[in-house]
Symmetry: C2
Subunit: 700 residues, 2 copies
């Protein structure tokens, strides 16, 4: 690999500037680690105070280091950093890690220092990691550049690493490493990004996506600086079948300070991160133990697995509890096929169960031949994707040989849960069986992992939705009124069924053409909130009603906002549908264009029942969004009501998304409500809004 | 204590019928345990095959046992059980445990055997536990009557036990015991109830509520046979400040097969169990590890604690992650008062944080004096109820002495989370600090426990709501039509604003009196679904409209159900309100009368946004129910809309509950919708329904 971060993450030589002979200090600890674990590259401690540290010759300054240096680690104060970087660069050093705090996180002077550092890096092309970071470790080469004592206390690693840690907090890096090493996870890279002045999380992720020594990434994210690059890196991970397990700080939405549209209120930053993660097959973890368990499971990712789980236990109660947890977490426990049940019935007493969960009963652990046959049948059944065995302590020990043998013989994922203290745990792990201490932790890892396996299989080879080119006439001047917004959306395939009328006569003529009853609505680019302005009249049954209403709404709007430009009214036929949706496209500050859908109305906000996707999406993804909604049954023939025109709703969602992508001057496009009629009858735009980037309204 | 279960759970002498000299068999294992752990009472093995087993004289039959026997343990086959019970009873044995399976769980013959056993127990008064159970253990007296090898493999217990296990599955009993013993929890009783032929879960719970050696109960429930007794036992636990931690099997509602009202559909068995648990201060656990952690926390229940948590850590990121999890779980992290922040600022560098979470930074662990001062200040602040310290590994070790000292000096609850491998864990535990391995498990135990502490404090001394006596005129003949239902509810304080009219003239007169517009609705005890019958007319603006509508609805209803008895119409003024609720009282098969409330309409079912309580409730509890609803903001002045008349809504809810309690012949009483008007303007019943126990409708 020749990624530009190579000298940082896989250096052939390392200089430590500010070297110390004390392993308790940040200038000493990396040297201790480098020598202790046998890093094979050159190490050059630099400090005029010492002749030798940790058995290595110590150089008085970087200039006196005789060979070329890939990576300089700067264990010096913030104020000295940029001058030292200049000297390193002049001496041919390719990359540097800056430990020092006191940069952008620390007020004005620090911000100035960081800007200086950034400018130097940009001008010189020198790679600078940090500042305010703990450093890195490449556990495959033992290139230790982190002042992290956890490498001394955590269990040593023998096998080649395939798990990389990438975090925006040094303490999180160390905490996850310690916990995961105690479970034997083999690490590749350990990366703490710090202030990300010159290199951000997403660029490291891009490196790891291409790194042949990384199969699984554990990420801790506070905020992404480059959402686009993050998306690209995740797509690269997807393509290569690698997995990112991410813990995102900030479980609650901060909430936009100035909410401009309904969609903005619904598409909080937290929800957009969540949507991006799902869309990019990133598994979101909620604590460190779950992260470690997920990574452990992911080391078994070459086994075939999916959401259809068979549970085998020796107790009806334990099976029921485990089944409950699995189902709540989104897994399926399919009824087992008759022929499989027959095999199981061959060795299970009457008071056991051959359904799913399978209860082999306590007696059966004395019959290893049958256990082997039962597990073998589950290992080859087409009806399930994974097998979870729950037997505490000695019960599991009795089944262990058979379980290990079957797991070795078949590529299916097997997991075992032992709430006792079984002796066989390591032997099972060696055979490729995932072993867990308890139901809760097991399911919190198994469920997202198995759903990821499903998603990976479904996406197999499928590229993300492509953008349909907007036609040239789709240009629109913003701000615009609703009639223009509707016309704009029509270019992207969302038909407009309303008519624009400039005076009362036109309004009556349009209403006659559309058929009664109709609604009138004031047209004005300055009045997005038409109801509040008195600018809406509903259920107009004849020409007289239309004529009266025309005068009424124009007068009310003029009273409400005397400076607002009025441009006649929209006439629309009153129609009935199955449901009203809100469909909105907004620009997320991190991820860019995002589509949001929910049921229209006040309850959607209270229930937070919305679905979100990074754009573009295609119709299949739009339907997946609708199916995510808790209110989806309402569209699907709920309680004998007619089914909604799902296909038309999906086309409308795609159109709104495409419109935003093709309209760079628009901040948001919202159709609210979108009336979804009965299947085959399409949709109707009941209101449409296009907000330009930084618009201010006359509307009070 | 002189509870009738005393001979079962605290026997002074034990006979084992079907004794074996093999510790691997069910007739041998209890004898092994009794002798191994030094049970001080008399033990009488009974089996003609042996002279001696486990160093004890073995008796040929129960009749030859010379002394009186408290408890006989029957390790014999199902068919022999009742004859042997007769012999035991004749010989003066007070109680028996029946291990044998093959009773009600095993088909027809088993059911017959169990009935025989039940009849014998009822007639003789002999206490019989099981059948199909694993037996018991009293860990304080070492009275082992369970064939559970877990007692040999789990760590021995030195101190007096205060935790009791009560489960409906032997395997769950053993699994939880093993897990909890590894964490050092001191057990008192170990009870597996089996088929509960003669003694059910609730009676054991009643024993434990009164047992001076039990402070905490870990319960596993599949189904309760006596909900009323369960409620009483839980109230006894509440009164004594004891805690039940329950795991209920069946996380998903099974769903009634034949749903009769909307309320029945909403009040699934799972939701009623959940409501009962909350109402009775029972903590619901979801897996065994969480159960054990909760019990461990509960051993610290004499410390002061509540939901307002201060988090102290040495890393902003770790603090933020922990704070997130706490808030999602329902805890509060209050901003710390200025004077407390001043104390903290004394030792925390600028780049640390004195808010909440408190980030003392990594440097501070080298300053134990300051750590002690900071923890001391948190220990005495009135602004918080509990303190959680998160510092991994050696970081926690550095703070451990100060933490232990402060925890010993102050009654406040302290918890520590160590995701590293700190040496100080046991020392902290010895000082009364709860120590956890990881954030996830810590919060999953801390949150419900701290909320329980709050609830316990709030309920302190408060008795449950008393039933208001219904007046004698409240009698009602069922089935009844809506007018009668409304009149009945009025007796309990829910005013009826509709008028009953028998013909069109009356209807017009009533409408004139009420003011227009009005609604008309057919009155018929046989037609609960009036809209479907065409029996409703809305928005009638004048007398003519009323007159026409009268004829129309009566004709439509007669067409819809020719055999239905019609009894005129209800006339009701059309009114506007803030929200429409569904308020229903039903009879749960386990817990009896239950009140359900939710927002009216189809979305309530889809979102499952309902609150439930066992009846009776008072107005305060009714308001707590409304505040539980996710849509509560809609009643509380959402987005500038008027506030709803909460007090009137609460009175209406209490009235519906009281009405069901006072109407034994009613299966359900439902007001749907209940229109809640603006504050001060009360409520209006828009529809009311009283269903008799087992009604069948003419309505097709």
């Amino acid at each position: 690999m020749t990624h530009r971060l190579e000298p940082l993450l896989n250096p052939a030589s390392i200089a430590l500037i500010g070297a110390s002979d004390n392993a308790g200090r940040i200038g000493g600890l990396p040297l201790d680690l480098l020598t202790r674990f046998g890093y094979a590259g050159h190490v050059y401690p630099v400090n005029p105070k010492y002749q030798e540290v940790f058995g290595l010759r110590c150089w008085p300054d970087i200039e006196s280091v005789p060979q070329s240096v890939d990576l300089a680690v700067l264990a010096i104060g913030a104020g000295e950093v940029t001058p030292m970087l200049r000297r390193c660069h002049a001496h041919g050093v390719r990359a540097a890690i800056v430990y020092a705090a006191g940069f952008a996180e620390a007020g004005e002077e620090g911000t100035r220092l960081q800007r200086e550092l950034e400018e130097f890096s940009a001008a010189s092309g020198m790679l600078v990691a940090g500042p305010n970071c703990m450093g890195f470790a490449n556990l495959n080469t033992q290139a230790h550049t982190a002042f992290a004592s956890v490498f001394k206390t955590a269990p040593m690693q023998q096998e080649p690493g395939i798990v990389s840690l990438l975090t925006q907090s040094g303490n999180v890096c160390a905490a996850v490493y310690a916990l995961a090493r105690r479970q034997g996870l083999p690490f590749s890279q350990f990366i703490n990004t710090g202030n990300e002045a010159c290199i951000d999380f997403s660029e490291y992720l891009e490196y790891l996506a291409r790194d042949e020594h990384t199969e699984i990434v554990l990420g801790y994210i506070e905020q992404l600086r480059d959402g686009g690059r993050f998306v690209q890196a995740c797509r690269e991970l997807q393509r290569r079948g690698k997995l990112l397990i991410a813990l995102k700080a900030g479980a609650t939405d901060k909430g936009a300070q100035a909410v401009r549209s309904h969609t903005s209120a619904l598409a909080g930053d937290r929800r957009v991160y969540g949507a991006a993660f799902r869309q990019l097959d990133v598994i979101e973890a909620h604590d460190f133990a779950q992260m470690a368990q997920l990574a452990y499971l992911a080391t078994l990712r070459h086994r075939s697995a999916g959401r259809r789980v068979a549970v085998l236990t020796m107790s009806g109660a334990l099976g029921a509890i485990l089944a409950d947890r699995c189902i709540v977490a989104g897994l399926e426990l399919p009824e087992l096929p008759a022929e499989l049940q027959q095999v199981l019935r061959g060795g299970i007493p009457d008071y056991g169960m051959v359904g799913n969960p399978v209860d082999v009963t306590g007696n059966v652990v004395n019959d290893p031949g049958f256990v082997r046959a039962a597990l073998g049948a589950l290992a080859t059944s087409e009806a399930v994707d994974a097998v979870v065995v729950y037997a505490p302590g000695y019960m599991l020990d009795r089944m262990a040989d058979a379980l290990a043998e079957v797991a070795r013989a078949h590529p299916r994922l097997f997991a075992a849960i032992d709430t006792g203290a079984a002796q066989c745990r390591q032997a099972l792990r060696d055979a490729g069986v995932a072993v867990f201490d308890d139901i809760g932790l097991a399911v919190s890892a198994l469920a997202p992992f198995l759903l990821w396996c499903d998603a990976r299989r479904q996406r197999n080879g499928k590229e993300p939705a492509a953008l349909v080119e907007a036609d040239a006439q789709a240009a629109i001047a913003l701000p615009c009124h609703e009639a223009a917004a509707r016309a704009h959306l029509q270019h992207f395939g969302l038909a407009d069924t309303s008519r624009h009328a400039r005076d009362a006569d036109q309004a009556v003529a349009q209403a006659d053409a559309l058929g009664y009853p109709v609604a009138l609505k004031i047209v004005s680019a300055d009045l997005p909130h038409k109801t509040e302005a008195g600018g809406v009249a509903l259920q107009l049954g004849d020409a007289d009603a239309v004529r009266n209403a025309y005068d009424r709404v124009v007068a009310a709007a003029a009273r409400h906002a005397p400076r607002a430009r009025l441009d006649g009214v929209l006439v629309q036929r009153m129609e009935r549908g199955v449901a009203e949706l809100i469909v909105g496209a907004t620009r997320d500050p991190v991820f860019g264009p995002v589509l949001t859908v929910g049921l229209g109305g006040v309850l959607t906000e209270l229930y937070q029942d919305t679905a979100h996707r990074l754009l573009p999406i295609d119709a299949a993804e739009a339907e997946a969004m609708l199916r995510e909604l808790k209110v989806f049954p309402l569209l699907d023939g709920y309680r004998g009501k007619p089914k909604a025109d799902l296909a038309a709703a999906c086309r409308a969602m795609v159109a709104v998304g495409q419109a935003l992508l093709a309209t760079p001057q628009a901040a948001e496009i919202e159709v609210n409500p979108l009336l979804v009629k009965e299947a085959g009858q399409g949709v109707a735009v009941l209101d449409a809004l296009i907000l330009p980037i930084s618009q201010s309204f006359i509307d009070p």
